[in-house]
Every structure is written in C-alpha cells, then in structure tokens.
C-alpha cells in the first residue's frame, strides 16, 4: 500500500526488557517482568497469555497510554514515548462512542486529524464496507449486536491508517459462531490491507487460526514463555493434522503454566 521497503524484515515494534509494575495498596506489584520481542513489518503476532496478567497493560504501553516502568519500546526504530499516531487499537470491551453513529465513530480519527469531510467520509466508507457493515452507517452503537460493534471498532482503528494495530481480546465476549466469523474476517482484512497486528487472546484455536507467530506469556509477572512460528497455509483449516497437533501441544503448555501458578 505504501511505497516503503517491502522486504518484510525490518523490525516495526521492538520491546527491550520491558517491565511494568503498579502500586497497589502502597506496594509495588510487578505485572510485566522483562519482555523482549521483535515484531516484523506486516507480521500477525498473537500474544497468548493468562488472565489478569498484564496483556492489556502491555498493549497500552505500546500505544503510549501507560508509562513504562523499565526497559524500552521502539516503534520503527524510534524510542517510543507517549502517543504515537502509527499505533491504533481495538479494545476488549466495546469502546465505541454511543453518541456517534457508525460513520461518526469510524471517521473519528481522520476527523480529529483535520481531514476534509469528503476525504474522511470516503475513507470511513471504505472500511465500513470492508468490515461488512454497508447500510449501517447511520445506526448508533446501541442498535448493533456485539459482533457488529467490534466490526465498527476494527474499522475505526483501520480508518486512521496506523501502521500497527493492537487488538485486545476483541472477540472475548462473542459467542463461538460469531467469533469464528469474525476471525475469518480479521484474517481477510489483514491479507488485503497489510498491517502489523498484535492480537491478544486466551483462545488457542483463535491464536492458531490467525498467527504468524504465537508468543506464549507466563503467569504473573508476565514474561515470554515460548514462541511458536506458525507457517500453516492460509486460510487455515481448524481440523488439519498439524493444527490439531499444535493445539494439543499449546494447551498442554497452558495447563502446565496454570498448575505451576497454583
């Protein structure tokens, strides 16, 4: 899409010994304990972590919404500090503005940057169509199902043209059927509109279906436990032998992680 180098090897996001602790009841509690990670351009990275172990916090740090306790985050080889317009985010809960229509929500980013009305409308319309919501432009979030709301959230993140898109368990609240459809669509969109995606989930099938690389995080405080490069052809079959084998292996790992944490 852009005229940049397309050799696919440059690092877009680099986490260097990243640490985070919160002061909870006057005590410093470490949430993230030294994560190192190198993410390549247009890679689809899945972070597979335990519950309540800093996944959202990690994404918020990358998006510049949360201070870094220690270590560094580099985005396009520049040390990141605070807001970065190259990063967009899709949230765990529906984060749509209820007072804006679907169109109003999707064009929020471009409008904020001062894009002309016709330009931002065109852009927003493109992504509304892409997530399959043509005809719903004038609807308000309350009028949409949970799955449709997350589609709007995805369109909103894309419409601002960030190079990196963070997705924080976007389908966590959806039923299995909707979830599967959404996974298919996220993959299609990513295949068409190449971006670097960092996707958080605690669902193994979802991780295996989407990821170029799965990063398995430990229990709290989180560090990288293991990494899987998934090079199964896309779109993937969830019943292929290799898929099932990996699912088995990762779920055993997750069980071990849990029992270790007690």
């Amino acid at each position: 899409m852009e005229g940049k180098k397309l050799n696919g090897n440059e690092s877009v996001v680099r986490l260097e010994n990243l640490k985070k602790s919160f002061e909870i009841n006057g005590e410093d509690v470490q949430i993230i304990n030294g994560i190192n990670l190198d993410i390549k351009k247009n890679e689809f990275i899945v972070l597979f972590g335990a519950g309540q172990c800093g996944k959202t916090t990690l994404l918020k740090m990358i998006a510049g919404l949360e201070d870094i306790t220690d270590g560094n985050i580099y985005i396009n080889d520049k040390k990141s500090s605070g807001f970065n317009e190259d990063v967009g985010m899709v949230y765990q809960t529906t984060a749509l503005f209820p007072w804006l229509s679907v169109m109003g929500n999707v064009e929020f980013g471009p409008k904020h940057r001062g894009a002309a009305k016709s330009e931002r409308r065109k852009k927003a319309q493109y992504y509304i169509d892409l997530v399959g919501l043509s005809g719903f432009e004038k609807h308000f979030p309350v009028q949409l199902s949970g799955g449709m709301q997350q589609r709007v959230g995805i369109a909103r993140a894309y419409a601002n043209d960030p190079e990196i898109i963070l997705m924080d368990e976007p389908f966590g609240h959806l039923d299995a059927q909707t979830r599967y459809l959404m996974e298919e669509d996220v993959e299609k969109i990513w295949a068409r509109e190449k971006r670097t995606v960092i996707f958080v989930t605690n669902n193994i099938e979802e991780a295996l279906y989407l990821a170029d690389r799965i990063i398995i995080l430990t229990e709290c405080p989180a560090t990288v436990m293991k990494e899987y490069v998934i090079d199964l052809p896309r779109p993937r079959s969830m019943v292929s032998e290799e898929f099932l084998r990996l699912r088995e292996e990762i779920s055993r790992l997750a069980d071990a992680r849990e029992s270790e944490a007690g």
């Binding site: 998006a63 919404l65 807001f83 990063v87 949230y91 209820p98 007072w99 309350v142």
Partner: protein, 262 residues
C-alpha cells in the same frame, strides 16, 4: 421512526386524550351537573374557562389582566432559569474537569446546596425589593444547584476506555473534554436542566406569593384572600400548562441534541 413506533405513538396519544377528556368530564359531573361539591370548594371546568376569558380583559381583583401576570412570571422564570443553567452547567463541567476549580468552589457549593431556594426570598426581598430581580435571583439559585450537580456527575461518568480511544487518535486534554467528556455527560446534563426547569417554576410561585405586585403567584394569592377560588384554580392550571409546555420544548431540544442512547 419505524411503522410500529409510529403506531405505538398514535395509540399513546389517543389514550392520553381519552384520559384527559374523562377527567374533565368527571369533574364537570361532580360540580356543575350533579352538584356534589359546592362551587365555593371546587369550581367547575366551565367556570374556570369563563373566568380565564374574563381575566384576559379584567383587572379585578388584583390590579392586572391575566396576560400581564403571565408575562411577568415568564420574564422572571425564564430569566432566572437561563442565568441558573447558563452558569450552572459550565461550572459543573469545570468543577468535574479541573481539580483547582473543584477545590475552590466545592465548599461554597456544599454550603448553598442544602438551603431550600425559598429560604433566599427574604434576603433577596431586602436586596432588590419587589422588583423582578428578587424573584430572578431566587429562581437562578434554585436552578443552578441541579444544573451543577448533574453536569458534574455526568462528566465524572466518562468511560476511561473512551478517553484512551481519543488519546490514541492524538487528542489533547482539552479536545477530550469537548469530544468525549461533554458528549458523555449530555443525557445527565439534560436531566439536570429538566430538574432545574421544575425547580424554577415551583420557586417562582412560592416567591411571588410573598414578594410581588404582579405575576401568577401574586394573582393566586390575592384572589385567595378575597375568596375568588375560581381565579385560584385558573391560575394554578395556567402555571401547570406553562410547565408542561416548557418540558415539552426541552424534550424536543434533547431529542435533537442527545443521540444514540447510553
């Protein structure tokens, strides 16, 4: 609006008209037709309509025609309401958004809040005499309190995720106030304005009962003293009609400004 909603609205309107007509009919029956309640205690609807027409051109017993009373009351209530809401809403927003503002105004506000608005009448009477300003100031105080309380808590309800969304699009604090916090507070602010409107009418009548030479409250009070119960009833109904009219106007404005439901 869908067809079904339109039908529902029609049904609702029909029921309201029927219930209103039935009420008037029963009233007319127990007074004029069967004479169950003497006219000295409860004048019939017919008498009230007649005295309404009579008061349009006659200054007995209180020295002014009805329209003059209405104009005075409207002037006082609308002026007081606009001053109260016009100051209260921005003040509530600022107190919720800027900590310094809050520290400065909170003690003063906590002191004024529990005072019943009518308690100010003697003070204002001494300051402004029988001029409209003794009523305007009391009404302004009556409406500023709910305006502040609701705007304040409306802003405090801002969803932190909405704030993150705006931040990842590069919004400054000031922009977040205008694009996220104030729209969030919209429904609460309107509810506060509605409460303020009610308070302004209630206070108006109470203030005019003791400190006026013209106005609906004054007309009611004078008529009561000379035993004209028909004028008392007519005055009360006129006040009710204006209250209903303003509530309706405000509802229209709210539907125009507050979109999407929460």
């Amino acid at each position: 609006m869908t067809k079904k909603e339109k039908r529902e609205r029609k049904k609702y309107l029909l029921i309201s008209v029927i219930s209103f007509a039935a009420f008037i009919l029963i009233w007319e029956c127990v007074t004029e037709i069967f004479g169950l309640i003497p006219p000295k205690k409860l004048p019939s609807p017919r008498t009230i309509v007649n005295v309404f027409l009579y008061k349009l051109s006659n200054t007995n017993p209180d020295g002014s025609v009805l329209t003059a009373h209405i104009l005075t009351s409207l002037k006082e209530s609308v002026l007081g309401f606009i001053i109260g809401v016009g100051l209260g809403v921005p003040l509530g927003i600022c107190m919720a958004w800027f900590e310094k503002f809050d520290l400065f105004f909170k003690p003063l506000f906590d002191l004024i809040k529990p005072i019943p608005p009518v308690g100010w009448v003697p003070i204002m009477l001494m300051l402004f005499g029988l001029s409209i300003w003794s009523k305007v100031t009391v009404i302004a105080i009556a409406s500023i309190v709910p305006a502040i309380i609701n705007s304040y808590s409306g802003i405090k309800q801002m969803n932190p995720v909405h704030k993150w969304v705006a931040q990842t699009f590069g919004a400054s604090d000031r922009q977040i106030l205008f694009t996220v916090a104030i729209p969030t507070a919209g429904p609460m602010i309107f509810a506060g304005i509605e409460v303020a409107l009610n308070a302004s009418w209630v206070t108006l009548v109470a203030a005019e009962l003791v400190a006026a030479t013209q106005g609906l409250g004054y007309m009611i009070q004078t008529s009561r003293m000379v035993g004209r119960i028909d004028i008392v009833f007519m005055g009360v109904l006129v006040i009710g009609a204006f209250g209903a009219l303003f509530t309706w106007l405000l509802g229209m404005l709210r539907r125009k400004l507050v979109k999407g439901g929460r």
